[in-house]
Symmetry: C2
Subunit: 386 residues, 2 copies
């Protein structure tokens, strides 16, 4: 559980606000910026004085929701099932979400072992139609596998169709994947993806703005897409009809200055028409993971440049240091072998390996992980305690 | 038969050179520019003095070919089967071929009724793989039909696969199509397309640099592609494997400042890989004829802008004037009806209608042809003799 180091107010205040404000509420974002978490919470709890920029009716609705909010209980329920709340200022907060300005999430509920911040540093969104074709599902799964094998984290929305194929493609090769949900992260949606989303929570991360127990709504789906776009280096759309929700994600990515990519398909397929529309604009046509990494890898890497030596090992979390110490010095090893050497689970090893990847210590090549040249130099120069 | 108004020399000289020089011979092009047709013909006939920039062996080969050339006979044989020779300076010469510089064809052999110059003004190349898929053939045929229905001329190479589908798509809707061959225009190649190419010569144009009777060779196919690229406003590639000949056409179009377009396909198809490669570069993704016309129509129209009134009717050829007079003033009519009213054949009517289209007199909408607003204004302002 994060300490809630937000200078504007405490963890509990933000948990409260996550319950009261809808995702992407820009008036709420302005209040937090202008008045601070403490003052906004106080006024909502006390029923006034009303904060600026909303109607009396809307203010009344927020106050009513505030009256029903039980942030201590939300945190307790979440903790009991292994869910933490990460908020701006926390060590695990992905700084690139601040690009959303006043639409930035109040905080994110997170299920899973890895550090959201570390994983997001080298991540790509793979999104698309729910009612996709076999072709689209195949393309999404291959793309996601290829990205995972190159050490990239695959982010998607957990939905049927392209999203599911992307998550499965990453999981299938022992890769890293993040599902960003439009509902409470304890309530997998769609129900038919309960097993998939639970598996993602074991091997990767399940993330969302909505408090435990909350349901998705059409507007929540749309607003969830801005989080996927902001969290990642770039967004790839694989099959989308015109006016598809995944085009919203792509356009949000464009507005945020992220890479926007599309996988083409037959011009006779209505499910490729939206992608082709994107590709006739600013989006870049990609046909495989290598082309995605070529685009986002050099210029788009949100991680600090890897020219010099890597961070001192002493600054790593103990779990990451243990996994790093289990990597053989002279060759690539599969995650299973590294996990066995580190006396931990494969899922834990995967969590740490992709974190170490973001920090420049290790690289993934197909099925194997190995130390980077920089990591080996740093080992030789200054043998660490591990 | 054109008069051969080339200031550099006579028609016969260029017919002779078309027999002696290979297509795209840039040394030959330089000679014509520096010495003029008459002098180049004389030296080749006399065996010297050798012209600069070629080896003695190469010069000897050219002199030997010159010894066998019989330009009068070439013209006679061609005339007998309705083939004319169009060369730079002729009224029918498409000026945009001059963009090829010293690689400009010496002249072009032409079969068919329409004016090559007029037709080329509003033309698009549709090219692609010989061994195409059903998907590619369908896409090429739809694209060509759509272009023809919008009054555009479809240019291709007469080959199996995409080329054939494009020609057939245009023919099927009573449209205009031009086959640019890599052999004598009296010798349809491939043999299996004899009926198709003969049909194109009736309803459209069959064009080539090679003199009657000449065979295609691999280098002639490649060099033919520069003529397709230069003749047209833009080139659309529909299916092409990596290293396909149609990518040569597309790259030539790019170098010449023409629009380069590609029709995407499944990323799992090797026959779309070359197109996707193009689309990851400068080429524009197109999915139908409307998108092609949107791109080439406004900026790329090689015809003079149509803002003002159209050219005076008196300057039209009599055959074109007759067809123009047969257009109803108040509605669209199919080519068949116009042909009947003009007491001519449907093929002749089609030839003239697409010429009139290039000149801004008429428009095609689906199956019907009608006068443009400008043409109607000019009729009202100044009733012509027809």
């Amino acid at each position: 559980m994060s300490a809630g180091a937000d200078p504007d107010g405490g963890l509990l205040g933000r948990v409260f606000l996550a319950r009261v404000l809808e995702p992407g509420d820009e008036a709420g974002g302005r209040w937090l910026r202008q008045f601070g978490v403490g003052e906004v919470v106080r006024r909502l709890r006390d029923g006034g004085p009303a904060l600026p920029g909303v109607s009396g009716k809307r203010w009344g609705g927020l106050v009513a929701r505030a009256g029903r909010a039980e942030p201590e209980r939300d945190l307790e329920v979440a903790r009991a099932v292994g869910i933490r709340f990460v908020c701006p200022g926390d060590a695990e907060w992905p700084g690139q979400l601040d690009d959303l300005g006043d639409g930035r999430p109040t905080g994110l509920w997170v299920r899973g072992m890895p550090s959201l911040r570390m994983w997001a540093l080298r991540s790509v969104a793979v999104v698309g139609a729910r009612a996709c074709t076999e072709y689209g599902a195949h393309a999404a799964a291959s793309l996601a596998s290829g990205l995972a094998e190159r050490g990239w984290v695959v982010v998607s929305g957990g939905a049927y169709g392209i999203d599911g194929a992307a998550h499965r493609g990453a999981l299938a090769v022992g890769g890293a994947t993040v599902a960003v949900l439009a509902c409470g992260v304890d309530r997998p949606y769609p129900r038919g993806h309960t097993a998939l989303i639970n598996r993602i929570a074991e091997q990767g991360l399940v993330v969302g703005e909505l408090p435990p127990g909350d349901h998705p709504t059409p507007s929540r789906f749309i607003l969830r897409n801005r989080v996927i776009a902001a969290l990642t280096t770039g967004t790839v759309v694989v099959e989308a009809a015109c006016r598809s929700g995944s085009l919203v994600t792509a356009r949000a990515a464009q507005r945020l200055g992220r890479f926007t990519m599309g996988v083409p398909g037959p011009v006779t397929s209505a499910l490729s028409a939206g992608v082709h529309e994107l590709l006739r604009g600013e989006a870049v046509l990609v046909t495989d993971a290598a082309e995605v990494v070529e685009l986002v890898g050099d210029m788009g890497d949100l991680a600090p440049p890897r020219r010099g030596p890597v961070l001192p090992r002493d600054l790593l979390e103990p779990a990451a240091r243990t996994v790093l110490a289990a990597l053989p010095g002279d060759r690539a090893a599969p995650a299973e072998d590294i996990a066995a050497d580190a006396r931990t689970t494969r899922d834990e090893a995967i969590a740490r390996l992709y974190e170490l990847r973001a920090l420049g210590y290790v690289e993934r090549h197909g099925d194997g992980w190995k130390l980077t040249r920089q990591a080996m130099i740093s080992v030789r120069q200054r043998p660490g305690p591990c």
